[in-house]
Structure formats: structure tokens, C-alpha cells
């Protein structure tokens, strides 16, 4: 009994000390002050130096929170109880959030740096006129592969993957739209197809791929591909550039049948408290030098035209990550297909996952 009481007291004292530590640290960072900005972003998706720079230039303290999936982020904002000033969802989520009235329209007058964005990335179907969002990073979905592991073959299309020589050599990312999209594209259909027969055909084609599929994984695909656990991976371009940085044997290609063009963009959720600060932040991130520094740190592709000349040339001239306009024209942005269609995509994907058993 004495032991229990002792332990109880010890814990209470330690907790009190910790709480005191937390509040003094928070105060020293200005988090508990009045002039704050809460940014909700993917993990490791911004150069921390830039946050400090922003804080110095504007005197606003930035509270930084991270999320790991669009849907979870959207659920948080939808439910309320939070007050994020800036968030960075992917394009299909912005579409959904727009429709559900979760976003505040941007005042373009407060974002003069908007002119720096390449016009082919503006005014896209998921946010006409960029009323609510400003592109942050963009990329494609494609195939990253290790030629040395597949007899130095060169891959150029989705259909290449169905080659029986690639048995157990393919890793897929755990994304219903990406995988179903591969099936659809390989049959010549659009990524935004909602025709039930087309979708079923795509799923059946995917079932045929199962012997070649080693596993369906999440973000750990980067570690696995760089470690040469498999020869071929279906990945986002951002992941591909990370993987290729770690392992020089690998190459990335956007398949010829077509693929997905994705965007992560900055938005202001309707629960924002510091709307003026949010605009300042967005404008700050679009500054050419800031954007160049951020892009070099994150190493994804930037939509900021004015930043390109300020970056190393081997980065910006790499066609795999900065494809030409004629190539991007062939790529499709995910449209919001509506909940029941999405549910169908996911049912098929679930069935595909179960198929291997």
C-alpha cells in the first residue's frame, strides 16, 4: 500500500513539473500569445527555417500541426473544435471541402505573389479561378523501377507491368484511386470514369496482375524500393524523387497511356481565426526565393515559375519531375466523383486486395 502511495505521489509531482515545463516552453515560443497562426500541413513538408523567417518578418508566431491523410484532416476541420488558419490538402479534397462550404474564399489582392504561379497550374477544375486555393507542390503518379533488377528493360507504359517476367516484383501504394486508375488507364479509360462496366473491367484486369504484385503498402514504399525489396513500384513522383536520391539505380517514368496529375494546395479553412495572417503566410510561401528554398528542401516539384531560375538546373530540367506541357496535357486531375462512386471504387479495391488469398 505504501508503495502505491509513494508511486502515486511521484507521478503527481513529475506531472506537475512537466506541465510547468510545457507552459514555460510554450510561452517562450510565443505559442500561447495573441498573435499566432496555426498551420496544418503534412509532416516534413516545409523547410523549418522558413517558418522562423516568416515569424521574424511578420512578428506572428506559427503553431504547426501535422496530419497524415487528407480524409482525416478533412474530418477534423469538418467536426469543428479546431482553428486552423492555413491547411494544405490535396486537390480532390479541396474539391470536396469547397462543396461542403469548409473554405474561406481567398482575397487575391492580399496575395500579389500569385502571379508567380505557372498558368497551366491555375484555374483547374477542382477550384475554378483559384477562389479557394493556391498550389503548393504538384506531381504525377507513375512507375519507379530498378532496371538492373529486371534485365535492364525499359518501362514506358502501364501495360508493361502485366509482363509475367515481373512475378512478385511490384509494389503498389495503398490508394484506391491510384490503383484503380492504373487499371482504367491501361484499358484506355479515363481516371474519372464512373461507368460500372468499365470499372469492373479494370478490376478484373487488376486481378490478372496479382501474381506480379508483391505487396500493397503505404509510405514505407520509399524504404522498400530504395532497399531493393522489389523491382517496380507504383508511386507518386514526390516519393520517386526521394527514392532515387537514396538509390541511384532507380528510374521514374510517367506511363504513356496517361496518369494522374496531383496538387497539394494551400487553403484557409472556415474555422480560421487569423485570416489576415493566413493570407500573409500564403503570399510569403509564393515569394520566388522562399519557394526555391522550400522546393530544394522538400524536393517535390514546385508550381512557382518565378522560383525555377533560382534553383539548381539539374533539378528543374529533369523532365521526369518537370514534364513538358504536352505531357501534362495528357494527365488527368482527380475529379470529385461523389460519395457513392468513391464507395464503389473502394469496394472494388477491397475485393482486389482480398483476391490474392
Amino acid at each position: 500500500m505504501k508503495q502505491l502511495v509513494r508511486l502515486f505521489l511521484a507521478i503527481v509531482i513529475v506531472s506537475a513539473l512537466l506541465l510547468w515545463g510545457i507552459s514555460s516552453l510554450n510561452a517562450s515560443q510565443g505559442y500561447s500569445g495573441d498573435n499566432t497562426l496555426t498551420v496544418y500541413n503534412w509532416g516534413d513538408y516545409i523547410d523549418p527555417e522558413l517558418i522562423s523567417q516568416f515569424e521574424e518578418e511578420t512578428g506572428i508566431s506559427v503553431i504547426y500541426e501535422t496530419f497524415d491523410s487528407n480524409e482525416a484532416m478533412m474530418t477534423k476541420i469538418q467536426q469543428g473544435g479546431t482553428s486552423y488558419d492555413v491547411a494544405v490538402p490535396s486537390e480532390y479534397t479541396i474539391d470536396k471541402m469547397r462543396e461542403e462550404g469548409l473554405l474561406i474564399p481567398l482575397d487575391h489582392n492580399q496575395i500579389p505573389n500569385l502571379k508567380n504561379i505557372d498558368s497551366r497550374f491555375m484555374d483547374l477544375p477542382f477550384d475554378p479561378g483559384n477562389q479557394y486555393s493556391v498550389p503548393y507542390f504538384w506531381g504525377t503518379v507513375g512507375i519507379v523501377y530498378n532496371p538492373s533488377m529486371i534485365d535492364n528493360r525499359k518501362l514506358t507504359s502501364w501495360n508493361d507491368l502485366w509482363n509475367p517476367a515481373f512475378e512478385n516484383e511490384i509494389l503498389l501504394i495503398d490508394g484506391a484511386r491510384e490503383v484503380m486508375g492504373m487499371g482504367l488507364n491501361s484499358l484506355g479509360y479515363s481516371l474519372n470514369d464512373t461507368n460500372v462496366d468499365h470499372l469492373r473491367a479494370a478490376k478484373e484486369k487488376l486481378d490478372e496482375l496479382t501474381p506480379n504484385v508483391k505487396a500493397i503498402v503505404g509510405d514505407e514504399i520509399k524504404m522498400l524500393m530504395a532497399n531493393e525489396e522489389a523491382a517496380i513500384g507504383l508511386v507518386w513522383s514526390g516519393d520517386a524523387s526521394d527514392i532515387m536520391y537514396e538509390n541511384e539505380n532507380l528510374d521514374y517514368v510517367v506511363p504513356s497511356e496517361g496518369s494522374n496529375l496531383w496538387f497539394d494546395s494551400m487553403v484557409i479553412p472556415k474555422t480560421a481565426k487569423n485570416v489576415e495572417g493566413a493570407h500573409k503566410f500564403i503570399n510569403f510561401m509564393l515569394d520566388p526565393e522562399v519557394s526555391a528554398q522550400n522546393t530544394e528542401w522538400v524536393s517535390y516539384s514546385t508550381p512557382n515559375k518565378a522560383a525555377l531560375p533560382l534553383m539548381p538546373e539539374d533539378m528543374t530540367s529533369d523532365e521526369r519531375f518537370y514534364p513538358s506541357e504536352e505531357l501534362t496535357k495528357k494527365l488527368e486531375v482527380y475529379e470529385n466523383l461523389g460519395q457513392s462512386n468513391l464507395a464503389f471504387y473502394n469496394e472494388l479495391f477491397l475485393e482486389f486486395k482480398m483476391h490474392r488469398k
Binding site: F8, W42, G43, Y64, T66, M223
Partner: protein
Amino acid sequence: MDQKLSPVSKFFLIVIFVILYAPIFFLVFYSFNSGGTMYDFEGFTLEWYQELFSDTRLLIIVLNTLVVALLSALIATIIGVIGAIGIHSVKKRSRKNAILSLNNVLIVSPDVIMGASFLILFTIAGYQLGFYSVLLSHIAFSVPIVVLMVLPKLYEMSPTLVDAAKDLGANSWEVVTKVILPFISPGIMAGFFMALTYSLDDFAVTFFVTGNGFSTLSVEIYSLARRGVSLNINALSTLLFLFTIVLVVVYYFINQRLKTNGTGGRK
């Protein structure tokens, strides 16, 4: 009961411990990797540790995590012990089983559902998300495991103990503090440590019910997964791990010292 362990038994235990600690050593090993990844060891460096100390935000997150873990485990243990004693004293078997099953609902619930339903409850109640919502949620999902750890000890306790104490003139309070609690204290400790584990490891529930800049280590680590976990997390885990080991060993030997001093003999 100090039977000498046979060599086979010793070997078995050693293997168990090696396997248990293998991933930990893996993480510690790579925390010194200048290559920046958890494969391909390139060279030895302390830069990740240096990076840690300049990252105030991460430091706050670690403290947050520890406080929530300690307090939620503490309060959950208290509530859980009350619950276990209550369930134990229910006479009707069907009723007892019903309450127990309800108790276990949270253990079987996937974290996502728990997180989502707690979030809804908090928003319906108009409760601001932040430290307190996280604390309450952690207490909530830790209570069942405490109950499950304490109950077996209550069943193993012979009811004659309580009767004997009462016969000797103990009132209810004394029965609880001098008879029941000491007997079940291994269960209480087990429950407390399991609650700590649940809290430290939780991601989904915390993610859904947090806000206002309050974050825990788990949420931070899972959010980093998309871009790749940087090795300062390895460094952090190594430090936390070493700190915990030292704490555990010191706590144990202090306890031993106090025990022998008190009763004047070996346990």
C-alpha cells in the same frame, strides 16, 4: 523460491530478451547514421542528436506525450480499480458478464472508430479540443485494460481474508486499504503500466481529438511517415529509451532497498 534456472531455461530467456530488444537496438544503431536513412549505414555522426536539442517544438511534444501518458494512466488506474472491485462484488453472473463485456468494448473498437466517436461527442458537447480532450480520451481507453489486469487478482483473493479482517474489527475503509489493495497491487501496477503503453502508443484517437496546437509524439511520427521518418526521431527514441531504462533500474533498486529496510528480512 529461488530455484536455479537450468541452462536451457536461461538460454530461452536470453533469446526472448534479444528478440524483444532487437528492433530497439536497430533504431539506436541507425540514430548515428550519417546517411540519413534506416538502411545503408554510411558513417557515424551525432548530428541528429544535435538537431534534437534545437527543436523546441519537438521537445514540447515529448513533454506533452509524457504528461498525458502519466496522468491518464494514473487516473485510469484509479477508475479501473474502482470498476474492478465493483464488478467483482456483483453477485449475479449474467450481470457481471454483461458489465465486463461493456468494459471491453473499447479494447475491441478500432482506434479510428473510437477517435471519430469521441470527436463527435466532444463537438456535440461543445468542448474545445486540446490537452483536456486528449487526456480524457486517453483515460477512457485505458480504463478497460486496468480492469482486466486487476480482476484476476481479485478473483484469486480468498474471501476469507476480508471476513477475517472484519472479524478483527476493521471498518470498510481499512478493509480496502489494508487488505484488498495490498493484495491486488501487482494487478494495479500491471494495469498502470499497460495504460502507459496504450497512451504512449496511441495515434488515431489522439489525432482526432486534439487541436489548438497540442500534439503528441505518436501523431508527429505518423505524420512524418509520408515524407520519411528523419533520424532525429531515432535519436529521440534512443534518448527516451535510455532514460526509461535508467529510471526503471533505479526505481527497482530503491524499492528493494526500502523493502528490506522496512521489514528487516528478505521477501
